[in-house]
Structures are given as C-alpha cells and as structure tokens.
C-alpha cells in the first residue's frame, strides 16, 4: 500500500506492506537507523519517536497508521551538527553509555518535558518507566532530563 509521511521535515512517499511496523519503515525503508529496536513486546522504548509531536513506541504502530502523519526521529531532533537541549543535557550529565536506549530515551524525554510542566524526580522516573536502560541505572538520565527541563530553550523542539 502507498503511504505518505513527513519524516524529520521531509515528505516521503512509500510503498509498504500493510503489516510493516513503523520502526522498520523508518529503519529499513528510509534508512534512519538512529531509532533502535530493543524488544518485541513494546516494553523497552528504544524505538520511541515523535508522531505528530507525541512520543510513541514505533514498534507498536504500523507504518500504515502513520500515513499522513509527521514523524520526528533522533536524526531530526536538532540535525546532525547541533544538539537539542535534551541531547546536550544527556552529554553533560553522562546520561548514556552504550547509546542503544539513547535515541528512544531522548525522544521520550523531549515529549515528557513538553507535556509535564513541573517535572520533579518522581515524575521523571514515572514518565520514563517505559524506556529501559541497562547501563546507567537511570541516575544520570533523570539528572539530565531535570536539567534539560530547566533550560530556557525547552521549547526548541
């Protein structure tokens, strides 16, 4: 079937199998491999992207369902040469190690900061419950998200 999406600001017209998952559409059809797959039960959140501005686990959405939608992946958050305040905060606070959960974690954090005005530690932890990380123990991720939430440029996305 034919779908039209806007991915990272660029219109894409594609012919896809009806069963194709959004994450595989992004990775295998469009070649945007920044978004990762960490599980097959929608548990880990590594594949989190923004679908019309809201975070979704792209393994839980069919590409067909994204027809007509706008999608932002890690590659499109700020572009290859600069960083969004959330990305900057992750580096500054060492919120990543192996990097595998990172794209999904960053996208989830961007969405969380947009959606919840008065984030505190408990709210960040609850908000990121669906994004698993094995390296950081979440400590520095929480720190980074709280720091990013306080930066004036929080609406940069």
């Amino acid at each position: 079937m034919k779908i039209t999406t806007t991915v990272n600001g660029e219109q894409r017209d594609s012919e896809v199998e009806p069963r194709l998952l959004l994450v595989h559409y992004l990775r295998d059809v469009l070649g945007l491999t920044g978004t990762n797959v960490g599980c097959d039960t929608s548990s880990c959140g590594a594949c989190t992207v923004l679908l019309d501005g809201e975070s979704v686990k792209s393994c839980t959405v069919l590409a067909a369902q994204a027809d007509g939608s706008s999608i932002t992946t890690i590659e499109g958050l700020a572009g290859p040469d600069r960083m969004h305040p959330v990305q900057e905060a992750f580096q500054e606070h060492h919120g990543l190690q192996c990097g595998y959960c990172t794209p999904g974690m960053v996208m989830a954090a961007v969405s969380l900061i947009e959606e919840v005005p008065d984030l505190d530690e408990a709210k960040v932890r609850e908000g990121l419950e669906g994004n698993l990380c094995r390296c950081t123990g979440y400590h520095n991720i929480v720190k980074a998200v709280l720091a990013a939430a306080k930066t004036p440029a929080r609406s940069a996305s």
Binding site: R27, G99, E121, C133, H139
Partner: protein
C-alpha cells in the same frame, strides 16, 4: 595542570545523541541474506524429523539448513575440566537440550520473510524427561549426556574437615539461592559474515573481537590472518557477549554455502532464551564463631547451574572460590563446588561473574550470624574485616588482596547514610506497629578485577603528520568510555589535546592483538598500556628532538602545555610534534610505540554499601528508598565515567535483589522469555544513588587504578537483599531469597506471624 581526575565529558556522545550508533543491525551489507533460526520448543527431546518442504516454498527463501547439513564440529567450552562430550553442536543434532536451542536456519532475501519461513519448518520431537535445577541434576536421574554418565560439568570438591566448626560457640547454616538472571543488554545479538576470497570478515556484537577471531579461526581451521572480526557499536554486553555463540559461529559457513554475505539479528524473545544467563548458584553456607562476634570458620558449598552446554557459567565457581571469605579475616575457610548441566539456557559471565555470588553468600552469612548472636550487622562486620596493616593479605583460599581499608569503607558508608538515625527511625516504626517498616542492609565487599586471563593488554600510540596522534587499544569498549579515558591518558603524557588524538579499537585488522573488555580489566590493563606507550613515545620523540636540536637527549624536555620539545632552560628553541613528524619523514617507526602492559596481577576494589528499603508488611511490597555506596577503585582517571559505571552496577544489583529472575516450569519451559514477562528494572523502581568517594591507590600498576565496572553490582545486591530481611527481622524473619518479590516477602511475613502465633 593534569587532565586526569577531571570530569571530562565523553567525546563518544555526540554521535550516539544525534544520528545514533552503528550497531550490528544497522550495518548496510550489500547483497546480504538474512538468517533466521528455528529454535527448539522443547527442553529435552529427540529430534525425530525436521520437515522444511513447506518452508522452502515460502517467498524469499534461498536455503534452509539443519544440523545434518552443517559439517562444522561441535563447539567445545574451551575451559579446563569440561568433558568434550558436552561440546555444543552448531545446530542441534539428534537431541535438543534446552528451549531456544537452534535446530535449523533459514536464509531469506528479506528479514520478514525469514520469520514467515521459520514458522513453516515443522519439527517433530519425542519428549525426554527434563532436569531443570542443578541440585536435581546431581541425582543423575535424567542425564543430558548419557555417555558422560553424570551431569557434572566441572567438579571442584575440596576435602572437608569434620572438625571444621569445633570450638565455635555458634554455627549457623542456610541454603541461599543466587537466582538465574538475564543480562539484558539493550542491544540483542547481531552479526554478519562475508568472504573476501579466502578471508572471512565477521561483524559481531561482542566484547572481545580478538577472542572471537581465534574462535572462528579455530572452528574453521583457518590461519589467524584469514579472519577479520569487527565489533561495530555494541549496545551493552555485561559479560554475556564475551564469547561468540553458535549463531555467530555458523555465519561464515552460511555465507560460504550461499555464496553471499549473511546478516543476522535475533529478536528479544530469542535473546532471552539464547543469550547466556548469569548467576544461577545454589549455595549452602555455614558460619561459626563466638558470641562476641568473631567469625572463626566459614564454609561455602556451591552447586552451579551451567545450563545445557557448559560455557563460561561452568567456570563461575572458580571465581567465587577466589573471593569466598570476602573482606573478612576468617581463620578457617572451606569451599567446594560442582557445575551441573541442566535443560536450560547455558549460563555465562554476567556483571561480576562469580564474585557477586561469593559476596552475596558471605554477606548473608554474616547477617545470619549477627542475628543469631544478637549483634548489629555493621558491628559484626567491623569486628571481622582484614586489618589495614595486613596487606598484601593472603586468604585461606589463596587469593592475595593488594591493599584495602575495609573498616574505613564501612565507617564511611555508615556516616553517609546516618546509620544511627536510620536505626532510631526503624525502632520508632517497630514500636508503633507501622505497616510500612524500614529495613537497613549493610554490605562490605572486596572483589577481584583483571583476574581471569593474562593481565596485560596491547596499545599502540603514534604521531600522525601534522602532529596529531592516534591511539590503538586491544580493549573493546561498548559503553565504558574508553575513547575518552584513553585519549585523556595519552594527552596527559604527550601534551597533545584530546581532540587531536584519534582512537582505534574493535577491529582485528587495525589492532593486532587484544584481550577485550570484561572483568573490569580495561583501565588497569589497556589504559595502563596507553599510559606506558605514551611515556615511551615521549622518550623516543625526545631523542629525535635532541638530534634536531643538537642536544643531549637527557636534557630535552617536553613542554606539555604546548606539545613542544626543548632543552631544559631554553624554551625559545624547540620542536613541535608536527615538526618532529615532518623530520621523521618516511621513517615509520620513528614516532610509534606499540606496547603490551604487564601489570603485576589482579587488583581488589572494595567498599561498603548501605541500602534502605520500605516494606509494606500487609502487601509485601518493597520500595528501595536509598542506596549509599562507598566504592574504592583506587585512582580515578575520570570521575564522570567511574560514577556512571557505579550507577549501572548498583541498578543491576538492586534488580537481582528485588525483581529479576529467569524462571522455568518443571518441564523446562521458560516463563520469562521476553521483556514483558521478565522484570527488567526500570527508573521507577530505583532511587537516585548516593555515592561516596574513597580512593586507595593500588601498588599493582603505575596508574594506581583498580576496576570499577562490577563493584556496584557486587556490593549492592546483598545490601538491598539484607535490607528487606532487616525490615522484617523483628517479626522473626532471618532470610528471604532473591528476588524479594512482594509475594515472597508477604509469605515470609505470614510464615513468621503463624510461627509466632503457635
């Protein structure tokens, strides 16, 4: 001013944060076929038939191979003492021995086609009785390898003295379960193989590319130079990606058979069955001593579950044995073990690998002993730790601890947690009968790092035209931040800014040898090699500079601020690295040093953790509210990175204590075979950690550095577990096995209450 010891941000990060890493599945391999494995659904069965007729006709199928087709020899454990007969076939032949064992492999043009075709392979099994736990395996009623005559993969029985506990006023015995857990790196296994002429190029999500290269060369009978292994970005390993698995090892065979490159990525559900598991020990502890708190004798007997085919898991008791007596000066210590095969996923190394098991055993034993004599658990520990003036200290199991201040670490942890105030709060809650009780767990630990395999590591440092530098390392970073730390070490000696130092690792064609990254070895072996190679390179460059300056080499110094050599006292005339590189011209050896470090031995990081939990006595729910960690890894090169290692370790320890367990039913069917069923710890179950700095440099290496990768896990696991028990101690609870799930805790409370009512 030295760059070492500073919180330098990672230079690895921008890539991961903007475009994402390039992991195995991200590789774009021209013309590659996808490999999909068909896996056993039975724990133990005869394979009576494999019907691939229908599957062959599915779209995109290029080939299907079974164990009968593949002419590779079985893969031996490669460990001392493991019987050859227990070697693992690349694809199962005749018998399957665990759910998830690969029985066939499908090659398709596209990934989705592989899953479709694999579902159309019909396998007939004739079920055999399964043995699922290692203690039952001891009976030998069910044998995985009948020709071996028992299920013992590695015996480690040492003579036991009958009078071992004579003279002890108190002896406490307990069976502890150090449960099987899943390493769960966020990236599952992935890889690819292709032939270039008679050379195989293999990509592997792996922690030790040079070990992988040797494994491929060995299995295929190839000269080493005909194998190239590249570890692309690797999304975590935690020990489970040290060795190659059969799914990796078959890829070159498939690529040869198909005449095309072959690409493979498992699903998480496959990974939960086929990536190795960790821990899996049944431990019988017995501890004896005096009523005034002196421990006089300690015995640990381990039954290790090796899983269906012995791998690194069967070797874990050897590491446990090294650390049997922990931080304590116990006159008499005995250890024995047996590694057993069972109809379960093979076990491997997992963060700590044998040492968390040792620490969990001795720490729980200390608490049981403390409870029996009615003494505070922190006090009992302090009365038994090795005194500071006894280092280097040789334990009764023959391990030589380098240096320590175990009592100091306990004191620091008690102060930082305000232990007395916590005990007072606990007393208040107990007296008020609050249904939310608090528990305080204390652990004291020491562990061995860089303790398995040769202690040294390879490095090469070279100056490039223009005066930049390049560092090569035999370690295999996959999240640890070696690129940042190693370039810091080189910059410190060379006086070349970090941003002008390139970093090369994880490719056996670019780095001639390496031990990889495991066992918290990297800084003290590989970082040390970079440090020493950089110093040697400066010496070499000084000689060249001396020639150019017509001076005595001994008089030439390096001004590290500007990266410039000059005669001491006359800085106006000198030579920069760029000028030296130009002068060296075509002499390729002039400004290159390749060097293998040779540290004197392993090192022994130590520390103490205090965990605080709230336990709901009505529901059994546990909330970890605080985790205070003193971790002494000696000299710290980059505190940002070291803290990150500690955080991750703490989380994995807490996860084992409270939540995570790989479980099987009685027939060997896994019941935790994906991330919806397996309770991998998330942000909501953890607090922010309270880290306390302590640094006792080791005399073992020139950096003074000990390993930090696994300390967090080793210390936190028993601290958190003991905190849960402590919360219920006033009810008479002495022990709760891990993971301390609400059900287990609730049952412990109920049992204690019914005992009290009798």
């Amino acid at each position: 001013m030295s760059i070492l010891g500073n919180r330098v941000q990672r230079r690895e990060d921008p890539k991961f944060l903007t475009t994402g890493g390039v992991y195995g599945d991200d590789l774009k391999i021209e013309g590659a076929l996808w490999a999909t494995f068909v896996r056993s659904t039975m724990a133990h069965a005869r394979l009576t038939s494999l019907d691939v007729t229908e599957a062959r006709n599915r779209p995109g199928v290029v080939a299907i191979y079974t164990g009968e087709d593949v002419d590779l020899p079985p893969v031996p454990a490669g460990l001392p003492g493991v019987p050859d007969v227990m070697a693992r076939p690349v694809l199962a032949k005749g018998v399957v021995r665990f759910v998830g064992e690969a029985v066939a492999v499908v090659l398709t043009e596209e990934r989705y086609q592989g899953e479709d075709a694999a579902e159309s392979v019909f396998v007939d099994y004739e079920p055999l009785p399964a043995v699922v736990d290692p203690v039952s395996a001891l009976t030998g009623d069910v044998l995985l390898f009948p020709e071996h005559g028992s299920n013992v993969a590695v015996p480690m029985n040492e003579p036991q003295a009958e009078d071992f506990f004579d003279g002890c006023e108190v002896v406490v015995r307990h069976r502890l379960i150090n449960q099987r857990v899943a390493p769960c790196p966020l990236e599952v296994r992935s890889g690819a193989a292709m032939w270039e002429g008679d050379r195989v190029i293999q990509y592997a999500s792996n922690q030790a590319p040079h070990g992988a290269k040797a494994a491929i060369a060995g299995l295929y009978g190839l000269e080493a130079d005909r194998v190239r292994v590249i570890a692309p970005d690797v999304g975590g390993g935690f020990g489970a990606k040290i060795g190659l698995y059969v799914e990796d090892l078959i890829l070159p065979w498939l690529a040869k058979a198909a005449g095309r490159p072959v690409h493979w990525t498992e699903t998480r559900s496959e990974s939960m069955l086929a990536l190795g598991h960790g821990r899996a020990q049944v431990q019988d502890v017995a501890i004896g001593g005096s009523r005034d708190g002196k421990v006089e004798a300690y015995r640990l007997e381990v039954v290790q579950d090796a899983g269906a085919y012995p791998s690194l898991g069967s070797f874990l008791p050897a590491l446990t044995r090294l650390m049997t007596s922990g931080t304590y000066d116990i006159p008499k210590v005995e250890f024995s073990a047996a590694s057993m095969v069972t109809n379960t996923t093979p076990t491997v190394a997992y963060r700590g690998a044998g040492r968390p098991e040792a620490t969990a055993a001795i720490e729980r034993a200390m608490d049981l002993f403390a409870a029996e004599i009615g003494m505070d658990p922190a006090e009992v520990r302090k009365r038994n730790v090795v005194a500071n003036d006894k280092f280097p200290f040789t334990t009764p199991t023959g391990t030589v601890y380098d240096i320590g201040d175990y009592g100091g670490a306990i004191d620091l942890a008690l102060q930082a947690s305000d232990y007395q105030a916590l005990r007072a709060e606990q007393a208040t809650r107990r007296s008020s009968g609050d249904t939310t009780q608090i528990g305080i767990g204390v652990s004291s630990y020491v562990e061995i790092t860089n303790g398995a395999g040769p202690p040294g590591e390879y490095a090469k440092v070279e100056i490039l035209p223009g005066g930049k530098a390049r560092v090569y390392t035999g370690t295999s970073p996959h999240g640890q931040g070696h690129e940042t730390a190693w370039t810091m070490l080189a910059s410190e000696q060379l006086g070349i800014p970090m941003e002008d130092i390139e970093f090369v690792a994880n490719d056996t064609d670019l780095v001639p040898e390496g031990g990889g990254t495991m066992g918290s070895r990297s800084l003290q072996s590989g970082g040390l090699a970079v440090h020493e190679a950089s110093i040697a390179l400066v010496d070499k460059a000084a000689k060249l500079a001396a020639e150019l300056l017509e001076a005595n080499a001994d008089d030439v110094v390096l001004d590290k601020v500007g990266g410039r050599f000059h005669v001491a006292g006359t800085p106006a005339v000198g030579r920069s690295w760029a000028e030296l590189a130009e002068a060296a011209g075509d002499d390729g050896d002039a400004l290159v040093v390749a060097h293998s470090s040779s540290p004197a031995g392993p090192t022994f990081p130590f520390g103490a953790h205090v965990a605080v939990v709230e336990v709901d006595t009505d529901t059994g729910r546990v909330k970890l509210t605080r985790l205070v960690a003193v971790d002494d890894a000696g000299t710290i090169v980059n505190p940002l990175l070291a803290e990150g290692q500690r955080h991750g370790g703490l989380a994995q320890g807490a996860a084992q204590a409270l939540m995570e367990e790989v479980r099987y039913d009685d027939d060997g069917n896994p019941v935790t075979s994906n991330l919806a069923d397996y309770a991998m710890i998330s942000a909501t179950e953890l607090p922010s950690f309270e880290l306390v700095a302590m640094a006792t440099p080791t005399p073992i290496n020139a950096l003074g550095a000990k390993g930090i990768g696994e300390s967090g896990t080793i210390g936190s696991t028993p601290a958190v577990q003991s905190a849960v028990v402590d919360a219920l101690a006033h009810l008479g609870v002495r022990h709760i096995d891990m993971p301390a799930t609400p059900e287990r805790v609730w049952r412990a409370v109920a049992a204690a209450q019914s005992t009290a009512a009798e």
